[in-house]
Amino acid sequence: MANTDSDSTHLLISEVDLEINPGPMNIQFDSSDLRSKRPFYIEPTNIVTVNDVIQRVSDHASAMNKRIHYYNRLTTPADKALIAPDHVVPAPEEYYVYSPLGSAYKLQSYTEGCGKNTSLVTIFMIWNTMMGTSILSIPWGIKQAGLTTGMCVIMVMGLLTLYCCYRVVKSRTMIPLLDTTTWEYPDVCRYYFGAFGQWSSLLFSLVSLIGAMIVYWVLMSNFLFNTGKFIFNFIHHVNDTDTVLSTNNSNPVICPSAGSDDHPDNGSMIFYTNDTGHQQFEKWWNKSRTVPFYLIGLLLPLLNFKSPSFFSKFNILGTLSVLYLIFLVTFKAVRLGFHLEFHWFTPTEFFVPEIRYQFPQLTGVLTLAFFIHNCIITLLKNNRNQENNVRDLCIAYMLVTLTYLYIGILVFASFPSPPLSKDCIEQNFLDNFPSSDTLSFIARIFLLFQMMTVYPLLGYLARVQLLGHVFGDIYPSIFHVLILNLFIVGAGVTMACFYPNIGGIIRYSGAACGLAFVFIYPSLIYIISLHQEERLTWPKLIFHVIIIILGLANLIVQFFM
């Protein structure tokens, strides 16, 4: 039975199926106590001739088997009262499985307990979960901060969020006297801060989820628009002669927002043509006026599904799209070459200074880019060797940092600066490639499809968390769900029409929810638990208070940029 009370805590997880065979990753909400799922003997039935060659279960063990079967019938799965404790169940080496026909074999690879994932799988899952759409905004963030500052900020933020993640993982172990094996981070918050902790962690989790969904809608409209335009131009053999600034060679890079002021361009390019068919297409296929609405027809029905496990089968698309982006960026960098000039403080016509005061925009984006704190406990639970948890977490963070650095620096460095200014780097770097570019067309289709499969999952998580806590039932009625979905979709459509700056949305929602989960809660909980154990020293206190202040500053300064 789906244990829906434990799933209110996951943001975007790909959790390995709890069966012995880790097949495609499913968002399965695991049962709260794995001990109730332990396999046990199946006795041979007494068939005609009792063959002495077959190993028989000892009488003691078969009595225990019957006992456990019987006791299991007396309670609900959630009740832990009659679950066999470890000291009465035989050791894992003594487990046998009997087929009903009488033959027995010993389970070779049965691993007791929680985790069956090797370190490699765990690291990959953490990397996969953290890689989100914020990767598209990293080059823009580097541009906003300056290259040197950008690189330093990425590494510092990586370390800082890693430390806070480590605090999250360790927070459960510092709770005395209680069995915290099934707890996720919001449960820890509730333990320390009571109902306020529970509700605030729910609120911030929702902020990050809905922020992500809005970003997804904006991006999906963008990609759908560009895909449609590519297909239309391809079919009608139209060559874009648009007035947008671009490079004049076989690797076109465009600067969509040149010529306009700070107000972001909604992508309506002007075609000088008398072709009415073209104008009709222009009218009905507009990035900010029509396409976001077309998506409603596609996605709103999907949001209303009761169980999104069908979509979780497409999880692998996320990895593939990131890999494809890496390939794309490398390819383009090779073709375009590097264009770098170092000016420390003064901007030039084509280049940005190395150190800019707008670097907090990058920190805002990175807070969401490195965010995994509300589901890291679950991801690490399935690690086979639990003592390697910290090491695996560090390796995963290192890989994520490297990926971000790679893509960010390559896009920034290879941006053709003599004809175009570095300031042209868009908040979604794919926007810098014209819609006629084949490689980026493939990237956009890939990402579009991937986002369409992740969007219902995010919607499901938001629904479960909100409706589960407010109404106690994750599917109270079709009306509640519909209203919630309309609200979320409406927010997405509104943003896509009027404020499609994914960089902006990411940094605001990232700083807001990161404030709670990344900066304040881990540090505060650590301080409180140390104080309760009377191990609090001044250096630790000051260090963690500084972290909290940094988090607050991160959020406040976003509004001033």
Binding site: V48, H60, S62, A63, K66, Y70, R73, L74, T75, L82
Partner: protein
């Protein structure tokens, strides 16, 4: 004349958290009713309806209340609780850190019993023995047993060590039930005669509600010493499944080329299980034999009279 208004009670008492509810659930095949907001104690009154061995009603009480509400309720209702008690089963948690307190509460219960039902039988269960290391179990149990015997004077108490994770719980309760039947020797003799007449390998008599073995006869050594508890667990599990379909379990026949086993209602409070190792004997024959034996056993009970026999009230 049996007084149906005053049912005889079996009190299951002990500190809160000592395992009484789990014990009752396991022995009587009740679903565990977990009240998530425990008011500090299991308040278990005549609504329990768990009956066995005729008209005995099982009552659970938490002794040694934690909060004043329970204390007051307990003391004001004390006489009511301890009146008309046939059996007192007191459960001690072997891991308890408050031995003095436990003994103190036990003694106050004994006082109440002495006042209100001096003929009651007393049983003490030292529970959760699986948490003690194996080599120390005998020692610890002997210590406790001596203490309890001493404390219980002038009343007599029988002590058992139990754990829900091995056969000791079933054996303890079977012993308790065995001691509650006054004419059990005669019953066993009749059972042996019955078994020999019908040439059965083994004949068991179970209590109806709990499937605790009251008495048994076997004509040769059986390999599995745990078979009584296993059968009891299997049948209770089957009864739970039946109850989900609003059906009630009545009888069962299991047969293959090696044996035939029959489980059937016997007297008003017992089940019988007959195991025949000669499968060539047709089922009908054995069933007729069982039916005739049933009449005989019921007559047996009537002869003894209702006052002495617990098998029929």
């Amino acid at each position: 004349m049996p007084n149906t208004a005053m049912k005889k009670k079996v009190l299951l008492m002990g500190k809160s958290g000592s395992g009484k509810t789990s014990m009752r659930s396991i022995i009587f095949a009740n679903y565990i009713a977990r009240d998530t907001q425990r008011l500090g104690a299991t308040i278990d009154v005549e609504h329990s309806h768990v009956r066995f061995l005729g008209n005995l009603v099982l009552n659970l009480w938490d002794c040694g209340g934690q909060d004043t509400f329970m204390e007051n309720y307990f003391t004001s209702q004390r006489d009511n609780i301890f009146r008309n008690v046939e059996v007192l089963i007191y459960v001690f948690d072997v891991e308890s850190r408050e031995l003095e307190k436990d003994m103190h509460y036990y003694q106050s219960c004994l006082e109440a019993i002495l006042q209100n039902s001096p003929d009651a039988k007393i049983f003490c269960l030292v529970h959760k023995m699986d948490l003690v290391q194996e080599d120390q179990r005998d020692l610890i149990f002997k210590e406790r047993e001596e203490d309890l015997r001493r404390l219980s004077r002038p009343l007599e108490c029988a002590c058992f060590r139990t754990s829900i994770w091995d056969e000791t719980l079933y054996k303890a309760w079977s012993s308790i039930v065995y001691q509650l039947i006054p004419n059990v020797q005669q019953l066993e003799m009749n059972l042996r005669n019955f078994a020999q007449i019908i040439e059965a390998d083994e004949v068991l008599l179970f209590e109806r509600a709990t499937f605790l073995v009251i008495s048994h006869y076997q004509c040769k050594e059986q390999r599995d010493v745990h078979r009584f508890e296993k059968i009891s667990n299997i049948i209770k599990q089957f009864k739970l499944s039946c109850s989900k379909l609003a059906a009630s379990f009545q009888s069962m026949e299991v047969r293959n080329s090696n044996f035939a086993a029959f489980i059937d209602i016997f007297t008003s409070n017992t089940y019988v299980m007959v195991v025949m190792s000669d499968p060539s004997i047709p089922s009908a024959a054995t069933l007729i034999n069982i039916r005739n034996a049933r009449k005989h056993f019921e007559k047996l009970e009537r002869v003894d009279g209702p006052k002495h026999s617990l098998l029929m009230r």
